[in-house]
């Protein structure tokens, strides 16, 4: 594997949009317009780590209100109840809806936590020299993180659908809670964090 050359070491970079390989002018940090598609060519995404850190920390901060505050308020025949993400899952379990409990638990709790943990892990380890096998695992981890992120929107959509449908005056109403807002922000911020991270940085520290 030692005969593999990175584009960066040859002063080349690949366009992020159309994959055209472009020769970078010196110094290699200068941004360049792609001759084929007109997009910007970066050898590495600019300020990738700083941006990912900032977005990740912001999403971690918002993860607290997203779980503490209710995401949904339900009135049923005059009786009010409000649910957080976790109490919603517990409610499904109590009612015996194992499948729904599993879907919501995975999309709203496992996926966001997994994303935040794996980005944190990648950010901490990106500067450490690693062997090819390890770098490959980290790249795979990044790929999964980027792929599953959008599925945490399930809860936000469910709250929207229930809010739109369950407006039956005195019988039953559903209102979105402030936690839903924070949770939506967590989803967007973690997705932006994953997009800002440049997986090519993982390979820059590879041990030969």
């Amino acid at each position: 594997m030692t005969d593999l050359l990175r584009a960066k070491s040859l002063g080349l970079a690949s366009c992020g949009v159309c994959r055209q390989v472009v020769r970078l002018s010196l110094p290699s940090t200068v941004q360049l317009e792609c001759p084929r598609c007109g997009g910007r060519v970066h050898s590495r995404l600019s300020h990738s780590l700083a941006r990912t850190w900032a977005l990740l920390i912001a999403s971690m901060v918002l993860y607290v209100p997203a779980n503490v505050y209710p995401v949904m308020k339900n009135t049923y025949l005059g009786a009010e109840s409000s649910n957080t993400i976790l109490s919603g899952v517990v409610l499904f379990l109590k009612e015996g809806d194992w499948l729904l409990a599993f879907v919501i638990f995975t999309a709203s709790i496992v996926v966001p936590l997994l994303k935040m943990c794996s980005l944190l892990y990648l950010l901490i380890n990106v500067h450490k020299p690693s062997v090819a096998r390890r770098a490959r695992q980290q790249t795979a981890l990044y790929r999964v993180t980027e792929l599953v992120g959008r599925w945490s929107m399930v809860d936000v959509f469910v709250i929207g659908i229930l809010t739109a449908l369950v407006q039956m005056g005195a019988i039953s109403t559903v209102e979105p809670g402030i936690g839903a807002m924070a949770f939506g922000a967590v989803v967007v911020l973690t997705m932006l964090a994953a997009i800002s991270f440049d997986p090519r940085l993982i390979w820059d520290q590879e041990k030969q």
Partner: protein, 211 residues
């Protein structure tokens, strides 16, 4: 041709593979590109079908709720609107963008790009459209929305009568056709075709190169 992997930056010479084959990175194993079957005609046909179903999914109600004769129905835009109206303006906009606007934009711009390439004409804004597609793709969440409807349906089935509308069937069909279409599209291959249109204007292109 020369390609650098977007995940590990390994520079490599890659062959132009036959239809149905894909090329993997020598460094990390990521897919560099795949040469889809069916040329341009297959994704165009699939996306036209998807377009019809997308329009139907927006016209007809997705779900109707019936509690003792009092009914209420919702659509894609109705869901975003409900959040917007309940003091959740940003959340409503996010739902509008991810469930309706971005899927629609992707559908239209993909069809536009494919039509331009099929007709071998450099239609205005063709490149910008194709470049836009790579940027907005992660924000397309119509498939997540369908799963959410199913979750909401089960949740409500205990307290009211739930009627599945024509819109939901159309939405599911739209997503299935969309998945099939995106499997028959590779952005890198589209850029190569785009390059050829510029080099050889309409008429000068051989049949072989157009396939």
């Amino acid at each position: 041709m020369l390609m650098a992997c977007r995940e590990c930056d390994v520079l490599q010479r890659v062959p132009w593979v036959p239809v149905g084959k894909k090329v993997r990175c020598r460094g990390c194993g990521a897919t560099l590109y795949h040469h889809p079957r069916g040329g341009l005609d297959r994704p165009i046909a699939l996306l036209f079908g998807a377009l019809v179903l997308y329009v139907l999914a927006n016209i007809f109600p997705l779900v109707t709720l019936d509690i003792g004769g009092a009914t209420r129905e919702t659509s894609l835009v109705g869901t975003a609107w409900a959040l917007y109206n309940h003091d959740m303006k940003l959340l409503g906009m996010l739902v509008f963008l991810t469930s309706l606007a971005v899927p629609g934009a992707i559908l239209f711009s993909t069809l536009y790009v494919l039509a331009g390439l099929r007709l071998q004409r450099s239609l205005p804004g063709l490149r910008q459209m194709l470049a836009l597609l790579s940027h907005i793709h992660p924000w397309e969440m119509a498939d997540v929305f369908v799963i959410s409807i199913l979750v909401a349906l089960v949740k409500m089935s205990g307290m009211a009568e739930v009627i599945v509308g024509a819109g939901l069937y159309a939405l599911i069909g739209y997503i299935l056709l969309g998945i099939a279409a995106s499997a028959s599209i590779d952005v890198f291959v589209l850029w190569r075709r785009m390059e050829r249109i510029d080099r050889f204007p309409r008429g000068q292109l051989s049949l072989e190169a157009g396939r």
